[in-house]
């Protein structure tokens, strides 16, 4: 870790350690709400908010919290921020809150957040933890955007509700149903892996 400069700390979340395509973390929310781009954006922002705030706080208290109770205290920290995000969405964006349903409260068990708190924020300074969290959030949002765009375009022929494919296009209903989520993500991960392999070969 020591050898990494701040820029590398940020960019590793985008590709090298991308939470979705590389670490396979936070699959539940990724798969469940990626049937429309708008849900993907809302979820991405909610997760980023929780991830950044809890990384900051975990990093701040890392010397105070005894080792034995650290996981429990991280969970309480994360749960408080998730409650804030959940109440905020319910108050200001009721339709989105309804569409996301139980998946907003479920951010609390999203492995990305606890994983970063345990693996990174609890061992690094506040600044580094913040940069790591921002990088991871950006990687998560990008992955969600790609996945939800593919699913929305193929599943309903629209993007953000605007029709992009003509009326000739027969929507593939399967893409907005659960099986479409699994298959699309599987293909996207394979694609990311293939690109990585090609890059390595060239070196």
């Amino acid at each position: 870790m020591a050898g990494r400069n701040l820029w590398q700390e940020f960019t590793k979340g985008l590709w090298l350690d991308n939470p979705v395509s590389r670490q396979l973390l936070g699959m539940c929310s990724t798969l469940a709400i990626s049937n429309a781009v708008i849900n993907g954006i809302a979820m991405g922002l909610a997760v980023s908010f929780v991830l950044i705030c809890s990384s900051l706080l975990v990093s701040l208290v890392r010397r105070i919290v005894p080792n034995q109770v650290r996981i429990a205290s991280y969970i309480v920290i994360v749960a408080s921020f998730v409650t804030i995000a959940d109440r905020f969405l319910a108050a200001f964006f009721p339709p989105i809150s309804k569409a996301l349903g139980p998946y907003v409260p479920l951010i609390v068990v999203n492995c990305i957040i606890l994983g970063r708190a345990e693996a990174f924020a609890s061992k690094n300074s506040v600044g580094r933890a913040l940069i790591d969290a921002v990088g991871m959030s950006a990687g998560y949002i990008i992955a969600l955007l790609i996945l939800s765009s593919v699913r929305e375009i193929l599943g309903s022929g629209t993007i953000l509700g605007y029709r992009v494919l003509g009326t000739w296009f027969e929507p593939w209903i399967i893409m907005i149903l659960p099986p479409g989520a699994f298959i699309t993500l599987g293909i996207l991960i394979a694609l990311a892996f293939q690109i990585e392999r090609k890059v390595k070969q060239r070196r």
Binding site: A72, L106, A181, I187, L191
Partner: protein, 191 residues
Amino acid sequence: MELFVIFASSILINNFVLYYFLGICPFLGVSKKIDAAFSMGVAVTFVMALTAVVSWAINHWILIPYKLEYLQIVAFILVIASLVQLVEMFIRKTSPPLYQAMGIYLPLITVNCCIMGLALLASLKEYNFPETVVFGVGAGIGFTIAIVLMAAIREELEMADVPETLKGAGIALIVTGIIALAFLGFSGMIK
């Protein structure tokens, strides 16, 4: 009859893994061997049944009477975390081989979305006590079926000639998609 509908639909139609996308992490992580997958399924079912009981009690006896619903997330996650600790200690004492087999995935049940999802969904659907318990057990059995099916397929996949690119997560997710497609067939069963 109502209870049976909830039971059947939580196993087959609204399967936690294949329909609600809950518990994907252990589903992909522990599904390489049938034995380990089965013990994971049993552990999850057990914790789910317990969670259903405890979360219902907390929700209806503490949170709702005192208008503390906004504390639901914090309360549920703490209950689940302590329950999992208990189960872990119990298994370590009674069955060390089982404990070995589950490895690091047992503590991970704490952050397993399907347990938390169960507590949240049951309160969202406003189930009464028997319904919540049946929902919990059914969801656990559904999880077990899905993970054992997946493990069986993956054991065969070891032998198969999978393209280099798709190896690992790629093929696992596509197989899951196909299983989910098959389970979609059940959705006409109960309206």
